[in-house]
């Protein structure tokens, strides 16, 4: 690959991958809001 193509590809892909991973990590690590929230899967746990 020529240098300009390689730089273009690597810079773009690293930035996009990093941002995607960052926001998804933030979603996974943000504590859920107090019930009642919009999601049903955690309802049972809260009641117990």
């Amino acid at each position: 690959m020529n240098t300009s193509a390689l730089i273009m590809m690597l810079v773009t892909e690293v930035i996009v991958t990093f941002i995607t991973a960052y926001f998804f990590y933030k979603v996974l690590t943000t504590p859920p809001k107090p019930e009642p929230d919009s999601f049903t899967e955690n309802d049972e746990e809260i009641r117990n």
């Binding site: 193509a5 590809m9 998804f24 996974l28 859920p32 999601f39």
Partner: protein, 526 residues
């Protein structure tokens, strides 16, 4: 017994469903072709600028409008938009948010059924020992309906969509997204690895896989000054994020006011970008260039990525031989299937939401109604594919309608509903701080951008209405039989256009009936 209220099961499920809605066949077939036709690696510059100035702002607008309307019990755009302003006509603008989904699903499900069929043929070894021409002819015969197989796969695909939709949000759509999206990433990673590590001379390859990457990513910076490139970038951002369709509004309408939308929108939007830019650029073009060379790929992509994906790749996979050829075929068409089904399910949800909210239909019945409507409207695209009906649906519902609806919704959100109120909606319950610059972008830049895209599309719309390309083809043809065929094609194109217009009017009439019904029942309407 009262039906259980629709809700998302988990936040990750919601994000995967939203990302699945955005990730479609275009991520793998359209994006790489757009890139090589519009400046190679330099295309990413206007593309990412359009994503930041138009894509992300519209995502915020659609997520927050959806959640706002959902808190009044609306799950489709006519009454979501209606709840945002007192003027009565907004509900008719919202008709686009149902029309687009029905019309796009009508041809998209057919496309989706090809992927299922090609998975089957990859497993059953239909492409083994066939020449490139034979594989290409296989596609031609398939869409010409030389056997009943395409219709069977199409009906299987429609039934599958209807069945999943009938299971509801958490029990159907979300489950498919939770299975489909990780599988799509695994299949994509496998194919990207195979493509990039392809070596000259290996299984008949004439180039390394990196030659394709080089071809795709070599930047032609002079292209940045071309208006055509910017229009292409803006168009790609639109299609890839499923903006202006009404499906994002619908998914977001099941989120409670205090729950986040800002981080969710960012996460789902960037997930789509990851699939498009990182995976989408690393499969189709590197494999094709590896076996066919740059010049031939350049020639083949002039008519888009569909031919390369369905007519050429199955042949190229056969060069890998045996189990690897089957695995590659299943991975490629399986990946396209999951990309497709997560999008078509998102098209069904607003239609079901409308029928359930306005006419009190049960979930199963409304899913069945969606399946039947898509079957009836999709039938012409299946039967008359070679007469341009499929492309006509795609142009009006999958292109023009999106831009028109997005233009109206950004004006409503920024200038009628008001940016201050709108910004508060975006930030309510937000788990991230969205930079304040987006307030300015949403109010001024995105509407100007969209207006530019719309104005830029006007000459194309006029040419389409007046059938300029078809008349030109007729003028250049001397064969009387070919001329007759082109005239028949024009007839089918005109009929499908009128059909789409009637569909829009029929939905507008249903919205009118729903509005009158609401007044009679004393239910909320602006």
């Amino acid at each position: 017994m009262e039906e259980e209220k629709q809700a998302w099961g988990s936040r990750v499920g919601l994000i995967l469903a939203m990302a699945g809605n955005a990730v479609g066949l275009g991520n793998f077939l359209r994006f790489p072709v757009q890139a090589i036709q519009n400046g190679g690696g330099a295309f990413i510059i206007p593309y990412l600028i359009c994503f930041l100035l138009m894509g992300l702002p519209l995502l915020f607008v659609e997520w927050s409008s959806g959640r706002f309307g959902g808190n009044f019990g609306h799950h489709s755009t006519p009454f979501i938009l209606d709840s945002m302003d007192k003027k009565k006509f907004w509900k008719y603008i919202g008709v686009f948010g149902i029309f687009t989904n029905v019309a796009v699903a009508s041809y998209y499900c057919y496309l989706e059924s090809w992927t299922l069929s090609w998975v089957w043929h990859s497993i059953s070894g239909s492409f083994v020992g066939q020449s490139q021409e034979q594989v290409a002819n296989f596609f031609g015969n398939y869409v010409s309906l030389t056997t009943i197989e395409p219709i069977i796969f199409w009906i299987i695909c429609l039934t599958l969509n209807t069945w999943i939709l009938s299971k509801g949000l958490s029990g159907g759509v979300e489950k498919v997204a939770k299975i489909g999206m990780p599988l799509l990433l695994i299949f994509g990673a496998f194919l990207a690895y195979k493509a990039i590590t392809l070596h000259t001379g290996e299984s008949g390859a004439i180039n390394d896989g990196t030659a394709g990457l080089n071809f795709l990513w070599t930047p032609d910076f002079s292209s940045i000054w071309s208006a055509k490139v910017w229009l292409a970038a803006a168009g790609q951002v639109f299609f890839t994020l499923s903006l202006g369709m009404g499906s994002i509004h619908c998914y977001a309408s099941y989120i409670k006011k205090k729950d986040d939308i800002a981080l969710n929108a960012m996460s789902a939007g960037w997930m789509n970008e990851f699939v498009e830019i990182v995976l989408g650029s690393a499969i189709l073009i590197p494999i094709a260039v590896g076996y066919l060379g740059v010049d031939k790929v350049m020639e083949m992509t002039k008519s888009g990525g569909l031919g390369l994906g369905f007519q050429t790749l199955p042949y190229l996979f056969q060069q890998w031989g045996g189990a690897l050829a089957i695995a590659a075929g299943v991975a490629w068409f399986g990946l396209l299937f999951f990309a497709g089904v997560t999008s078509s399910l998102a098209m069904g949800t607003p239609v079901m939401g409308f029928l359930q909210d306005e006419f009190g239909w049960k979930r199963g019945n409304s899913a069945l109604a969606f399946g039947c409507i898509v079957f009836l409207l999709g039938l012409p695209t299946v039967l008359f594919f070679n007469y341009g009906v499929f492309d006509e649906y795609d142009y009006w519902a999958g292109t023009v309608s999106l831009v028109v609806f997005a233009l109206f919704e950004i004006i409503l959100f920024s200038w009628v509903f008001g940016i201050d109120k709108g910004w508060k909606e975006i930030m309510d319950g937000a788990d991230i701080k969205v930079p304040n610059i987006f307030k300015f972008i949403i109010k001024y830049i995105t509407p100007i951008f969209l207006l530019g895209v719309f104005i830029g599309s006007l000459p194309g719309i006029w040419n389409q209405i007046t059938n300029v390309a078809l008349y030109q083809e007729i003028a250049e043809t001397t064969d009387t039989f070919a001329i007759e065929q082109l005239k028949t094609k024009m007839l089918y194109v005109n009929i499908s256009r009128i059909g789409l217009l009637l569909l829009w009017l029929a939905i507008a009439y249903l919205v009118y009936i729903a509005y009158k019904k609401r007044i009679k029942e004393g239910r909320f309407t602006s």
